[in-house]
């Protein structure tokens, strides 16, 4: 007890965290090959002063999370720290053994995960989980820890801070859970918190509140933080310094202002520059390819109305973007159009004729004309089929192509999505996230559809990769004259690709028209909230945006 209380104090003079020449490796087991060791992090060093926030930024696979977790001596799934030192409060934690690590985890360093919904144990009340680490390490008595937790709930502006701890994780919204998790990390009064993409899984309108709450909590408690994200605009709001990583190596490390205003490395520059694609808006044509008229749809036998009197038109070779936060009915609109969820009222007209309400009522030809691409490319493909089989399937099913004819067509499609012939025999597991999504695009194109519904197709991808996918989709649209219904919550994507926009809120279209009109003031309250919540790469944007809001976001 005495040693625990004095050891950190004795070291109060030096930096809190000093990572030197960190090397992290993992053993991978590729199918059909002998296991091999790959290096995830190559000799990365960093120091963090007390009470400061360091942002770790990079694409997936850059080693951000791996480095962040190394400050707790933790390696996820077979990942091992094989070299270097992690000096926390004046001692190398890698030499302290398992017991030493256990004493520092949840005491000196705490962790906030990307998905709080998954990181909370569904079987226990929130309060029990929030105070668990404090009780375990003898930081506070139960009563004291609960008092502290309630004060933190209040600080993080959670509703009814006295009683929210009595709830179970499933009884609280995603944005609230993320704040409870922050309270959980702050409760034992640690010296350092590792935030691992804490707002990435949230809607923009919710993200801004959680971000503000985290920032305020960091400022008021004086805790230091490693803030991991792939979104530079987000990290610019909270970090004092930013470290850019790529493929497990340090690219650039500097003050926040320097990184976003005067990046010295080309890669940082690519991250910082705005990824908007200049897209000339097309005028709506005479006759729409697909027309949704007064559609109302509900789940649970009419109990939960998720679409209320929705009408939109999509013109041939153009893109309609449907934006809104989660639960606004965007994906349900896609389900209604494809016939997966038959509308209760209203109709869907395609090429001048009314489509059957139910999927089973539609002829094969109608099914061919409407194709879909999904957010999660890896679960939208059969992992046991090769790329060639996946793309070839619609060719066989809709056009009866066989043998060499089909193979030639598959090669042609692979060429269109800018992937070589070498990919024909690959399995989805052997592809990167961007490549998987390209294969899904090729599969949709193989049916030669008039309309493709794209459901958050770039949301799971890194910004630079997502940008490539958007460019590809635009090129294909020009070549194939295909229309897109583009569902997204990301307004930057909308600006890049849309010709017209429908803004959805709680099942209704609240704003609809050509892109230039929808994105021009005066705005309705919700569109204003949506637009003003998109993080901008500007120091001080967060405070300005919170101040200028006209309505509260629904995620609260």
């Amino acid at each position: 007890m005495v040693a625990k209380a004095t050891a950190p104090k004795a070291a109060r003079t030096g930096p809190l965290l000093d990572i030197r020449n960190l090397r992290i490796e993992a053993t991978v087991y590729p199918p059909g090959e002998p296991p091999k060791t790959i290096t995830l992090v190559h000799d990365v060093s960093l120091t963090l002063e007390r009470g400061k926030v360091l942002g770790l930024i990079g694409e997936s696979g850059a080693g951000k999370s791996t480095i962040g977790l190394s400050s707790m001596g933790y390696g996820r799934g077979g990942v091992k720290i094989t070299g270097g030192e992690v000096v926390l409060n004046g001692r190398d934690i890698l030499k302290g053994g398992v017991g030493g690590l256990r004493r520092l985890r949840g005491r000196e360093v705490c962790y906030v995960a990307q998905s709080a919904a998954a990181a909370f144990n569904p079987a226990h009340r929130l309060m029990d989980q929030v105070v668990e680490a404090s009780l375990l390490h003898g930081v506070a008595s139960r009563a004291e820890a609960e008092r502290r937790a309630m004060a933190l709930f209040r600080k993080l502006s959670l509703p009814s801070p006295e009683t929210i701890g009595q709830r179970y994780p499933h009884q609280v919204s995603g944005g609230q859970l993320q704040r409870v998790m922050t309270a959980m990390a702050l409760c034992p009064e640690p010296d350092l918190i590792v935030f691992d993409e804490p707002t990435t899984a949230l809607d923009v309108t919710t993200q801004i509140d959680v971000l503000a709450a985290i920032k305020e909590a960091i400022r008021d408690t004086g805790v230091a933080a490693l803030y991991i994200t792939h979104d530079l605009a987000v990290v610019a709001q909270v970090a004092d310094e930013i470290m850019v990583l790529r493929h497990g190596r340090l690219v650039e490390w500097g003050g926040t202002r320097q990184i976003i205003k005067e990046p010295r490395q080309e890669y940082t520059n690519a991250l910082v520059s705005v990824h908007e694609i200049a897209h000339q808006e097309q005028q709506p044509g005479k006759t729409p390819a697909l027309s949704v008229k007064n559609v109302t749809a509900a789940y649970g036998g009419g109990h939960v109305k998720v679409l209320k009197n929705v009408s939109v038109d999509i013109f041939p070779g153009q893109t309609l973007a449907v934006v809104g936060e989660s639960g606004s009915g965007k994906s349900t609109l896609a389900r209604a159009i494809t016939g997966l969820l038959p509308p209760e009222q209203g109709s869907v007209t395609f090429a001048g004729r009314t489509l059957g309400n139910r999927l089973a009522d539609r002829p094969k030809e109608d099914l061919r004309q409407l194709q879909m691409i999904y957010q999660m490319a890896d679960v939208a493909m059969n992992p046991r089929q090769t790329v060639g089989t996946i793309i070839g399937r619609p060719l066989e099913f809709y056009f009866g192509l066989r043998g060499r004819e089909r193979d030639a067509k598959v090669a042609e499609l692979l060429d269109k999505i800018e992937m070589g012939k070498g990919f024909v025999d690959r399995y989805p597991a052997e592809l990167s996230g961007g490549q998987k999504q390209r294969v899904c695009i090729a599969r949709a194109l193989a049916a030669k559809p008039k309309l493709i519904i794209c459901d958050e197709v770039t949301s799971a991808l890194d910004p630079l990769v997502a940008n490539g996918i958007l460019k590809l989709l635009l090129d294909l649209q020009k070549e194939e004259e295909v229309a897109y219904l583009f569902i997204t919550h990301d307004l930057a994507t909308v600006r890049s690709i849309a010709d017209s926009i429908a803004v959805m809120y709680r099942g209704e279209v609240v704003r609809y028209g050509p892109k230039s009109q929808v994105l021009a003031p005066p705005f309705d309250a919700y569109t204003d909230l949506l637009l003003s919540s998109v993080p901008e790469m500007e120091i001080g944007w967060l405070e300005k945006a919170i101040k200028g809001r006209r309505m509260e976001s629904a995620g609260n």
Partner: protein
């Protein structure tokens, strides 16, 4: 009505319906069996007149559904009929045997269930290591041996060689508790060895499945000890599958003990059933079959309800 009450009521109603369906099957099954009840009572030398009279007396000439309803009505009022072979009231002769079977099953369960779960937790704690392999290996070996073989092995070593326990588990009314426990020691051990591995392996698998969850990582990053993580964070989320397999094995302890009871000459339901199958005593077979079915359905219902109660989403709706 809260959704959880509704769900549980549904389960119970379903269980009752299932039991009714099983009673139809049991009744139909015994009707299809070859042989004639009157003939088997009176023997091969009976005169046709005597047979006709007895059939009339037993109501065997009525249509099947009338006989079924009569039988069902009797069962519902606690009258299981009369044994053909001994002319005794079945309910009265089953009751002490059912008590014996439950007594043996109770002690076997009391040892095997906690042991299996603790061994499962330990196997997860030391997964893929020596302890895990040892536990899994021994448990699988004991299950792979046929139960009669396990029974005779126990008799050979502990009754014949060491003479610690009696080799024949005779129990009678008014037997002192200590002696009774001595008598069932070997059959209870044999049963434990038979059911242990299944429950242990399922506990291990269910918890390992949960150990992949993100909240296990959260617990690790709070600095919890490995065994506390398994006990506090993994186990409560694995209750549903574990309870399911535990209940299946409890049912086996009651309805599947025929072989063990015969080996140890234990006066339980299994012995009773075997005796009367040999004698073609249809009413007894029907009664025992129905009781076994009720035990089976009842325990599975308990497993379902426990799984519902273990789910915090159902216990605490939004």
């Amino acid at each position: 009505m809260s959704p959880i009450v509704k769900l549980i009521a549904q389960r119970i109603a379903l269980g009752v319906l299932l039991l009714l369906a099983v009673s139809v099957l049991i009744f139909a099954g015994t009707q299809i069996l070859p042989g004639d009840v009157a003939q088997s009572i009176l023997g091969q030398s009976a005169t046709p007149q005597a047979l006709a009279n007895l059939r009339e007396e037993l109501g065997l000439n009525d249509p099947a559904y009338i006989r079924y309803l009569r039988w069902l009505g009797g069962v519902l009022t606690g009258d299981l009929g009369t044994a053909l072979s001994s002319r005794q009231d079945i309910a009265a002769s089953i009751w002490p045997r059912l008590k014996n079977t439950l007594f043996l099953a109770f002690w076997a369960a009391l040892v095997s269930v906690p042991l299996a779960i603790v061994l499962g937790l330990l196997a997860v704690r030391y997964r893929n290591g020596f302890v895990d392999k040892l536990i899994s290996g021994l448990a699988l070996a004991s299950t792979s041996l046929p139960e009669f073989f396990v029974g005779y092995l126990l008799v050979f070593f502990f009754a014949v060689k060491l003479q610690w326990f009696p080799g024949i588990s005779t129990v009678y009314d008014g037997m002192p508790f200590g002696q009774r426990m001595m008598a069932i020691a070997l059959p209870a051990t044999a049963l434990t060895l038979v059911v242990l591995a299944h429950m242990m392996r399922m506990t291990r698998a269910a918890i390992l499945n949960v150990m992949q969850s993100a909240y296990i990582e959260t617990a690790e990053l709070k600095g919890l000890r490995a065994f506390d993580i398994i006990r506090k964070h993994a186990f409560p989320n694995a209750i549903a599958p574990i309870v399911n397999v535990v209940m299946l094995n409890l049912a086996f302890l009651i309805v599947g003990v025929v072989v063990i009871e015969v080996i140890f000459v234990y006066p339980g339901m299994g012995q009773y059933l075997v005796d009367h199958v040999a004698k073609r005593d249809v009413p007894v077979v029907q009664a025992v079959g129905l009781i076994f079915a009720a035990v089976y359905i009842g325990l599975n219902m308990v497993a379902d309800i426990a799984a519902i109660l273990a789910n915090p989403r159902l216990r605490h709706p939004k």
